[in-house]
Structures are given as C-alpha cells and as structure tokens.
Symmetry: C2
C-alpha cells in the first residue's frame, strides 16, 4: 500500500518432488501464528501443524504432489517482516515496515513459484489467514490456480472480527515496553503480546468445548486477580508460549492484513482483485462453532463463488473446536480435501 521493500527473503519448506512437467505443486498457506513447518521432515523432525494432512498417502499426498508451505512476508519465521533488518539501515524495520496486504503476501509467493518454474499450482490451500491467501491467489492469477481450498476463511473481514483483532493490537500497543514498535534489543512487550494472544485464544476456541475442558475448576492458592480459574491460567500459559515464538510488530501487521482483506466486488467495477475474478473449482469448508469466521460467512463465500460461475463444493463440519478445527480435525478435513483434489 504505497511502501516498497527493497529486497524480500522468503523462507519455505517442501515435501514430495516437483514433477518434470512442474504441474504437481500444491501451495499451502499458513495461518497467523503458524510457520511453514506444516509437517515433520528429516531437517526438522518436530511435528508440524498439519502433520496428518501432508505426507505419503495423506490428503496432500507427497507421493504424488510437491507441497510448498511459505512463511508469508510480514511474519517472523524468516521471511521478510518487521523484525528483519532494513537493508538501508541495518536495524530492524520495526514500525517503519510498510503496511502489507494479503495481496502482497501472495504476490511474494508468486515470485517464488516463478523461481521454481511453476506456472500453475495444482491446488492453492489454506485455512483462516491461509484461506484468505488461497482465495487471493486465485483472484489475482486465476489461470495459475487449478483448484482452490478455503477452510474457515471468508470473502472479507466482518466488523466483529476487525473489532476482536483491534483490541488485541491495542493490548500490544498499550504495553509501555512496545515503545511505539522500537523494542528490539530492549525489553519485550510480553504482557501486551500475552494478553493479545489470550484474547485471540478465546476467539479460536468454543465455549462448549471449554465447558468440558475447564468447567469452573480453580487453581489452588492463586490471588483472585491472577490466574484463579483454570481457564485463566490456560490463557496466561498460551500467552507466555506465544511470546517465545512471535514478534509483536509482526502480530500487528499480520492482524491488520486480515482486517483489510476484502474480495467483495467493488461497486461499479473498480480496481483490485475480487471474487468475480476467481475461476478455480473451489472447496469451501465452514465450521458451525467458529465465532471468528462464522458459518454464515462460509455459506456467503460459497454463494458468491457460485454466483460468479465458479464450481463450488461446500461442506460444513459440526465440531466443538471453533476456529481451531482446522488444526484439530485433520482427518475429517483430509477426507474433504482428498475428494476435492482427486476430482478431475
């Protein structure tokens, strides 16, 4: 949005082998907090976030496909982001990093596909922010996406989701240690980022699930203002874990990119990619207990794609796992994805 990155580094991981015809690549997009480590491999044996969806015989079958997962720009897993050194100064970009959009993330990935010689991906796949990227991918370059999978994503961010991310950003920025984004090499805004992650966790999971998991159990000996209930210590713990892996400025940029996402066709035509540009046969998956990307948005997305003559398979999962279903219900999602990928 006006800014320019003088150079861009993209960190990615791959599974399987690119075919001689370079027609078997599946581009997998990450969510907000996940890295490109979607599945374990010899270079990193740690379980990935989609371990059961990728591999020999899995839905994203590495015997057949070449799966690529890229860390989007703006993040903090190696690809250029606010914590990367600005080549002009040698110091981290920090708040001087340009405002980026999901379109920018996808354009950077297209440069990678160019470099790999992949003209068209066999499928562009993602959930949450990743689903927004897969939709954007198909809208930007419809001819380069043979199949599209969008899980728990949306055509655009609704005001409630914007509000929920806004209060998370405020939590980070209210922390004096954030220092207007200039905290590198100084004290880390862990209270702010931890609180933001705690708010996020509430939006990723479901109340029904927490009734079962936590109920009204208490932590003995805690002050009433601290993590008195079990659900409270869970949020604190998730916040602390997140502070070990995530850069607060990246959180602001990635969260804002989601708010800005809008593939609604502009009235009177207008500029920029929209759902009207998408032509890839699409699998759209919604989850009934998702409060961040409500199931109605999934139905609306499927309808909008159909309205623009896109072939759409729409599926709903009934689970108690809310927005996190894409991480938890990998077998069920795998079955849906396999059917879509195998369909001619």
């Amino acid at each position: 949005l006006g800014g320019v990155l003088p150079s861009v580094c993209l960190v990615y991981e791959t599974w399987g082998r690119l075919s001689a015809r370079r027609d078997n690549a599946i581009l997998l997009h990450t969510g907000l907090s996940a890295s490109s480590h979607a599945r374990s491999h010899s270079g990193n044996t740690k379980e990935g976030w989609w371990e059961h969806c990728i591999g020999p015989g899995a839905a994203l079958d590495t015997d057949e496909f070449f799966v690529i997962c890229v860390n989007p720009i703006g993040g903090c897993y190696g690809s250029t982001g606010p914590s990367s050194p600005n080549p002009m100064t040698g110091s981290p970009y920090g708040p001087g990093f340009p405002l980026i959009t999901i379109g920018d993330m996808v354009r950077a990935q297209l440069l990678l596909l160019d470099a790999l010689g992949v003209e068209q991906v066999y499928a562009s796949v993602g959930a949450s922010l990743g689903g927004m990227q897969s939709l954007m991918h198909s809208a930007l370059v419809p001819d380069r996406v043979r199949r599209l999978i969008s899980i728990s994503a949306a055509l655009k961010s609704q005001p409630r989701a914007v509000a929920l991310r806004f209060v998370q950003r405020q939590a980070v920025m209210n922390d004096p240690a954030w220092s207007e984004g200039h905290y590198y090499g100084k004290s880390f805004p862990h209270r702010g980022l931890g609180l933001a992650r705690g708010i996020g966790m509430i939006t990723y999971q479901s109340g029904e699930q927490w009734n079962t998991t936590f109920g009204r159990r208490r932590n003995p000996g805690e002050s009433w203002l601290d993590a008195d209930f079990l659900v409270e210590s869970y949020l604190v713990h998730q916040g602390e874990k997140f502070c070990q892996i995530y850069d607060p400025n990246s959180y602001l940029y990635m969260s804002k990119a989601m708010d800005l996402f809008d593939l609604e066709p502009r009235s009177g035509g207008g500029v920029g990619p929209s759902v009207a540009d998408i032509r890839s046969p699409a699998l759209v998956v919604g989850v009934d207990s998702d409060m961040l990307f409500p199931v109605q948005q999934q139905r609306d997305l499927a309808s909008a794609l159909r309205q623009h003559d896109c072939a759409v398979t729409y599926r709903e999962l009934e689970t108690q796992h809310g927005h996190d279903t894409f991480l938890v219900e990998q077998r069920a999602l795998g079955d849906l994805m396999r059917a879509h990928i195998e369909a001619s």
Copy 2:
C-alpha cells in the same frame, strides 16, 4: 469472603409509593455498568437505563408498585466500594477492599429492605449481573421473594465468560497507571479501562448487528494502527465514555463477583445458597444472539429451577442486540414482565 466492611453506605432510588402493608415493593438490580438511575424523576430528569420499563402504566407500574433500585456494594455510584474512603484510614480502600460476592451485594440490599420495613418483595428483578442478584436474592431468602425475574443471566458463570472478563481485568491491570490499584489522586488508567470496555462491548453486542451498523466503513485520515475502521472508533469512544463514569478498581471487583457466581447445588449437599433453595415463581428470559450468556444457559437455568419444583415461565427473544437486548428491547421485555407480575 473473609473481609469485613466496618460500615456500608447504600445509595438507591425509588419510584412509586410503598403501600401501608409494605407488600408492593419491587427490587430492581443493576448490571455491571449501570447505576440506580433506572428511570428519570424530579430529582434527576436524565433518562434512566430502563426508562420504558418503569413508570405509571409501565411493566414495573409505579401506580401500583414501589420500585427500588440499589447501587450494589463494590460499585462506584455512591454505595460503598473500592473508591470509597476506608473509615480506618480516610483514604480510598483501593485494592484493600475485600473481595465481594453477589451474595454480599444482596445481603447489603436485605439490610436496606429491613430498614424500609419490607419483609417480602413483590418481585426481585434483574438482567445480566442484575439477574444473578435476583436469583441470589431468592436463593438466600426464598420467603422474602414473591416473584423472580431473571433476564440474560445464568445459574453460574461459564469458563468462556470468565475468560472474557479475565482479559478485561488484565487490560486494566496491564496499564502502568493502574499502579496495583493505588491510582487515586494520581493518573487514571484510562488506556487500560478503555480497552477493557472495548472488549466488553464486543461481548455485549452481536456480529450480525455490527454488519448492519458498521459494515466495513472507514474513518478517513486515521493511521492504520488507530481507529481506522468505524467499528474501531466506536470501541475507542465507548472506552472513553466509560472512563468518565467508572472506577477501574470497581470494574475488577464487580467483574470478579460475576465470575464467582455459581448457584449450582454442591455435590453432597454442601453449604451456601443454590438453585435448590429457590421457590419463587420465576420468569426466565434468554436472547438468541447473546454470546456472553448463551441461550443454552437460559434453558439450563429454566430446567434447573423446574427440577427443583419452581414454577417457571421461560421465554426467548430473537433479536440482533445480543446481551444488550435488555437495554434495547424494553417494550418486548416489558410485555413479558407485565404478564409475570400480573399472574397471581
């Protein structure tokens, strides 16, 4: 919970006249942020928060009933709370205020009813925190409550609601100006309390409603980190308004009292009031779009009351106003309440 207040002041407002037999009193309990000013009167002509539910000919008919609305202890509208001077020191209690429960709030109100010579109220009425008070009132002294009305309340706080209030308290406490609760006469933790209120507003209203009210409209000229979307400036504005009227420590205490609320019968009998003690014929009202007190909790409350031989009228409102329905849909609620109050 172990603490003792050496003296308690209760500020309340009334409408109508107490009958000679003192049998026409309706005790109205407030929510978290509302004061006792439920309706305008000659001493304060400002519109009250339940203006249309109280008055001559209204559901709480002041031609017939004596309506009392009390500011609960712990709050900041005149009744004893953390911002009140501790008579032992002359300075505000601050964080030295004892942890209070909804049972404590109701016990203080019973002292007021004693002072007014009201042995039994004609009805105990409330929504949200107020509904929790009306349920507690009937559980504590079943013979003193002739009818019970609970709107958008619950039998107990669920972990998701606890989590949502926890992150609000963290937002207050993360503000360095909060100073562990010792901010009186110093700088006010307005960023923290404003953010807490912003989070609260998301839980009080519904996503559907915001799609209509705000959509994706932007505020021209705002930085992307500030109130860029209209829904964001709304949250900021609500936060600023709240800082004009509410004490941050009161927010912590009142919010925690809601978390601690639990009228589930203790296994093996146990001590303390429970739903099993309630005998007053009850009107329970739920709202389908309420995410803070989900409609399933309303059905569970009605079932639990029935299971303990309580006569229950259960009604559900279908609105887009979420938890705030009790403030917005006063006519519809008035009709439901009138029918319950007029039933013999």
